[in-house]
Symmetry: D2
Amino acid sequence: NGSYIALARQNQAQKTALLVRLLSERRMPQQGWTDEQVRSVLAMFASMDSNNHGSTRPGSGSGSGGGGSGGGVGVGEREGRVWSAMVAERHSFLAHGVGRSGDIVAVQPKAPGSSLIQRLTHFMAADALRVAGASKTLVASAIVLPMATGMSALLVFLTLRTMRPAARFIVWPRIDQKSCLKSICTAGFTPIVVEQCLRGDEIVTDLEAVEAAIGAHGADAILCVFSTTSCFAPRTPDDVVGLAALCKRTGVPHVVNNAYGVQSERIMSSLNAAVEGGRGRIDALVQSTDKNFMVPVGGCVVAGPDKALVAAVSKLYPGRASMSPILDLFITLLSMGADTFRQLLAERKANYEYLRQRLAAWAETRGARLLETPANDISLAVALPDGVAAHATQLGSMLFHRFVSGARVVKGENKEVCGIRFDGYGSHVSKYPCCYLNAAAAIGMRRAEVDVFIDRLDRTWTEFNAVIAKRERGAAAE
Amino acid sequence: NGSYIALARQNQAQKTALLVRLLSERRMPQQGWTDEQVRSVLAMFASMDSNNHGSTRPGSGSGSGGGGSGGGVGVGEREGRVWSAMVAERHSFLAHGVGRSGDIVAVQPKAPGSSLIQRLTHFMAADALRVAGASKTLVASAIVLPMATGMSALLVFLTLRTMRPAARFIVWPRIDQKSCLKSICTAGFTPIVVEQCLRGDEIVTDLEAVEAAIGAHGADAILCVFSTTSCFAPRTPDDVVGLAALCKRTGVPHVVNNAYGVQSERIMSSLNAAVEGGRGRIDALVQSTDKNFMVPVGGCVVAGPDKALVAAVSKLYPGRASMSPILDLFITLLSMGADTFRQLLAERKANYEYLRQRLAAWAETRGARLLETPANDISLAVALPDGVAAHATQLGSMLFHRFVSGARVVKGENKEVCGIRFDGYGSHVSKYPCCYLNAAAAIGMRRAEVDVFIDRLDRTWTEFNAVIAKRERGAAAE
Amino acid sequence: NGSYIALARQNQAQKTALLVRLLSERRMPQQGWTDEQVRSVLAMFASMDSNNHGSTRPGSGSGSGGGGSGGGVGVGEREGRVWSAMVAERHSFLAHGVGRSGDIVAVQPKAPGSSLIQRLTHFMAADALRVAGASKTLVASAIVLPMATGMSALLVFLTLRTMRPAARFIVWPRIDQKSCLKSICTAGFTPIVVEQCLRGDEIVTDLEAVEAAIGAHGADAILCVFSTTSCFAPRTPDDVVGLAALCKRTGVPHVVNNAYGVQSERIMSSLNAAVEGGRGRIDALVQSTDKNFMVPVGGCVVAGPDKALVAAVSKLYPGRASMSPILDLFITLLSMGADTFRQLLAERKANYEYLRQRLAAWAETRGARLLETPANDISLAVALPDGVAAHATQLGSMLFHRFVSGARVVKGENKEVCGIRFDGYGSHVSKYPCCYLNAAAAIGMRRAEVDVFIDRLDRTWTEFNAVIAKRERGAAAE
Amino acid sequence: NGSYIALARQNQAQKTALLVRLLSERRMPQQGWTDEQVRSVLAMFASMDSNNHGSTRPGSGSGSGGGGSGGGVGVGEREGRVWSAMVAERHSFLAHGVGRSGDIVAVQPKAPGSSLIQRLTHFMAADALRVAGASKTLVASAIVLPMATGMSALLVFLTLRTMRPAARFIVWPRIDQKSCLKSICTAGFTPIVVEQCLRGDEIVTDLEAVEAAIGAHGADAILCVFSTTSCFAPRTPDDVVGLAALCKRTGVPHVVNNAYGVQSERIMSSLNAAVEGGRGRIDALVQSTDKNFMVPVGGCVVAGPDKALVAAVSKLYPGRASMSPILDLFITLLSMGADTFRQLLAERKANYEYLRQRLAAWAETRGARLLETPANDISLAVALPDGVAAHATQLGSMLFHRFVSGARVVKGENKEVCGIRFDGYGSHVSKYPCCYLNAAAAIGMRRAEVDVFIDRLDRTWTEFNAVIAKRERGAAAE
């Protein structure tokens, strides 16, 4: 028995060493951890939280990982008791969430284990952004919020308001995606929509129009410029270098919606360039955890060059929050490791190139044309022949029913969103010359998916044309 | 084989019937489901979502529940791919979160299974409130937000702002809890703190002062009155009947922070009374999922008499959100069933009574006194002898180190929170006559915990007095 | 960070203390452990095994908990690599099974964690038998085999053969259950079936016939007497006191098939009595883990008064074995604790009494009669009226289709099993006077199930009589 | 709601289709299933079993997946009730095990879902053997036993005994591995050990000696020849072609211990050749599930050219058994798919070649020599210099402490095993000319492990020589 106990102690020391290393390095491991290692360390964290101090099983109901008499007793209003054993288990017995009245990154005395996971996740998220190409200037620190990008952008706006109480407007280079517009309006600001302009096939930032918009309302009335990097072609990432310089010059904050831009080396480089040498101003980057790090929807990484601003965002959060999106990212970054993350990024880049070539080739044979949008290295767009534009939305629907998800047929329409009129809504400009089909190469896609996609697209295309022809014959016959 | 296949079909039909019944009844089951039934139905939901249409395993990395070629291919920017098999599993392969650009309860075409779980959870949450005593008038509908109460209150305020754009103030009967104050300030409103008054030992709402506050700023400038029900003794639940009537009379919205009030029949009855027969006005109730339904921290039920307002809150949410807190509640309410929930509520009530008696008896023998706060039937307070008040905080710390969590020693102090000065902060009024110790009987507590608590309290008390005596002797000797 | 690390160390020390206590006490805990505690300790055990020494994730396939380079490399033919992450997880990363060439309880150098779990399970199983009433004389030690009772009995027979190489026969008081007969034949022995005799309604051991059987073949030719305790009424537990005395006198080993007898205080008492004061001889007790301890089918506890014999059984096992049934028992005994096990046993006893009363009352009203079998306190039998006997098997089938499982209608038939002719097979004697229906009160049954059972039985009975009546009218009409 | 229900039905139909396809194809899928698909189908199976017919949660204890009133009531002695929710979950709610009194592959009326999984696993295991190269002649059918190879071989011997009651001996070409010898003795047979002979470095079957052994005892007295394929170099797979022909000629059954031979194309080919065109006789092949299919220890595939014999083995099994090893294989083969299994086999072959080259190169530089054993394409052996032989076992121990598992240093010793004297035990012949170090390339090993192994071996070697030198200097000084 003595030797067993010694062995148990030695093995626990090894696992503690694993944790100590993580605490001191504060980075993604180079090589991913095994599931067993992740589970062991999660068990160590859980045992630190007060809901796991009990020495007897809860008696009521069906079992639970929480509660506790014997070792621990709880006479507060929130003791992390979990009724369902299934729920307790899926959270690895972490029940207290994150945050504390008034600061989402504050350590909870009842839940030091949970607090520690959160902190480590912040560090690993910052590291992951750097693995993806961010400079230390661009990402001085990062926090992971258990809310998706829209709500996180809203929280960033509310934070900036405490610093610019007089501001009423947010200058927003147009992108036809509802939740970012909504985050502006829900936060109580008036969006100043700046139309984009065309450059060849590409839709690009109209820097002069942005400058004019700032001038028109006065910098003090502007909460921030809210630019967007990741987007559907033919829109391209906003000119963050130009905007950052403009913001610096005019003293207007600059928030970047980098929702799924982490996976693009090109976008990350331009963000680096925007702040390098104090050349321009970026206050906060907002990016999705699910779209960049392959976790379920629900988290957001807010990062930026100014640690104080990032901290201010975390301090504004009222009360506690779910730990779940943070735990997902924690598990994933530990399991993945920096090497595999780099490899996934490289595969994505290769898949984009492969998708581009195959789509171009396909388009050529079908009277369509791949739009030239080199500045967008995630999303692609194929201009559809004029003849089919009238029926185009049906193509998207047909693809969806053939289990192709994410391919969208875009034909701008006039529409009111959040009380604002948009011409050509959906296409990011008031009048894009053609109707087109979008497809993207996102992280985690496999090369084989490109082949299946092209194959199904082509078969769907044939069917779609047959349907149109039939319908037109019908119309002609009437 | 034929008979096997027939059997498989028959059994699937049974599970589908289970789901159909849930969809048509839209309530918690009377008797909780078995884990096997919950898992089966979760598997059915997961199979509806597009990320589970793939017919082959993802090849990259370490395995994943998401992604997919073969059956499904994804060429969008968000395809619910999950890299970590451990993460995919803990979410039962549900990866798309909830919500859709601009409405957190909108159905996601890619994720009908997830959307359905969300909807059913809304219905079951409304039902659970009614099982706990809410009338159909009080709770016409409910939604579950994947954010804790502070952030949810904030979202309610932002919703009300769209209807009362001129409002600048929130009238707030004082409660010394940071996150609700923070939710007011973060939302961009100025809190008008209305001091409470004393009635015997109890701290109660000063209805006239609230009325005066409304009068002073004008009803149109007031976004809402933000009252609180569940609180630490000797504060008592706000006089929601009086406040509701006042709000109705003055045309001011009324939001109730009912954080952990669902577990109190008394609170639920007074809320019913407040709106019965159109007598008074409550616009929204905000309540914690973890504190009332024994799930991990992270969700909130927003409910109210007006379906349109509840819907407006959901429509204001920008973008998607984590499904995790919703899934926890879904699993828990299904597994628990209404019968067991009722039983847990009854046990809580009995535990409160038991805790009250034991605390009173203990206090008597130790020169302390249980404060008379019958209006608060969750939390209790014991006035500590004057002699020990100077050292009182140490008592709380000693209890915490003896694994008693949630017992707090309160001695008001002057403090600034969110830029506002509070006298006697912590005790809910500027000058409470004594220092006291809090303990509460929350849902899920077991009777045996009361015994352990009283026992440890007594032993700690003895030690604590010895420490004080020693210290005072030391001070005297100097 | 320093304080975090200190906290991590302190918490790990607590968990190690938990394990050390278990190692030194070697018993079920009085109060069951929480799930979190069980998981923590499982994680500690897993980390001791060599398959978890790797510091990187396996690259091939879909992920795995096993394998390992970096920390560990494996160049043997069995390295505990597990391809499926789902499989690795369900075994808590324990992959090496139990046993080592030539001894199922030997410590595996590659898997000390697994070996330790096995050892602790042996100790806890012995303790559980004692909690259920076994004396220390009766159960000097116990091992848990990862095989069900039939195969385990076979292994016991093979062990005895090494000590009695000349033995060819096993004397077996008849019980009509196939797998125990099969275990005799498969082991290569010839069963000497000793008919039971009737005493009132009860079927009891014919002690004289057993003695005669031994005499007829000579004690040296007899491997053992193989008696049975737990059985369906109206058969009663064999007279183990009498058999044990006889075996002692004649020098014949005695193996008891105590398959689900642990749950009966009465059976355990008679087993104690059989060996008390050296009065009689029992060599080994064989009991099911699933039927007594509520785990999935697959394990068996072999116990007895002689540690050397129990050890000999374990040493005979050729090679390694699945750890799964042992792990199930380990988790269950830790989670359940002795207090809850005692409570389950008490509830079973009460349910038996309740079932007896309700069945008796029901029988009276329906022209049936509860057989008087007080010596069997698990199973009951209701004699069916003569009129229905011809159709009796249909009653069992009707009950099964109404989701009543385990109720069996018995009407002995002539049958050959393992080459032996049995008259009245199914009823344990060659000619039982009536046809009857069995029902049992086993551990884990709930009182409410008795009510539902009686209710369905009654409704089924009515239908069944209607069907018979119709059929007989039809027959009469022809 | 209507559309939701329709969707639910449609998705269930898809999953049922998945199952129907599996039932009709009865093979591993070409491409592995996703975890979500595996979970869905497991949920379908579980819902067929009677322990999951209950409509309410079990009330006692801490929760459970089993039990059941409401829908189902159980009045038998074995109702699949599972006390621990954690245990129920890890078995996906399958509680009844496999087998039925007297036949391990019989369908259990209470557990058709479990029975079905078992059957499908048998089919998939047979298919997996064929994917690995077995001909349809060699593997006409297969069963998976929930016991490891030693115990399974024992069961095969007991089966053959029913057909050859007079047989007393098993002819066994020597292999120094305890559990196969033990399986012979425990089954009650006398092993006739046939010494191997040397051919160059290789240890090979002495066919003439086997023939002589049969002749000496008479074919009728021989239960079977028990040959071994997979083994440590320099022993090579037995000459199964020669032995099969001999067995055919003499009418003696032939059982092959193919423990981890499935992963070797070379071994599978020779087994095919042994039975092709009725040339020779193989009655049964016994192979480990963990060593060939990367599941935890505990299962065995028994296969052979004669369906009747395989069925006879299953019919001999007394009673029920754990389903766990079968479930592991079921999950793994479904998740892996034939394509990935093929790829794993190809990688193993490449790793063997790589390990061979690197070991040879290393040996050359260190005065050692890779033994020439081309007939063994799994295991390799490096002859150590004579100087170190005296201390050789320490080398193995040093490697183990440097986290190299599976590398064994072999120096034959005289030893008695199961009552038989062996000279040079451990080296498979009575006198192998040298001491050597073994290393193997097993399925699931990664190329990187080879590099780490060689690196550590070299460093350990240096240390080891230093230790020896020091010790010898010490000895010389005395």
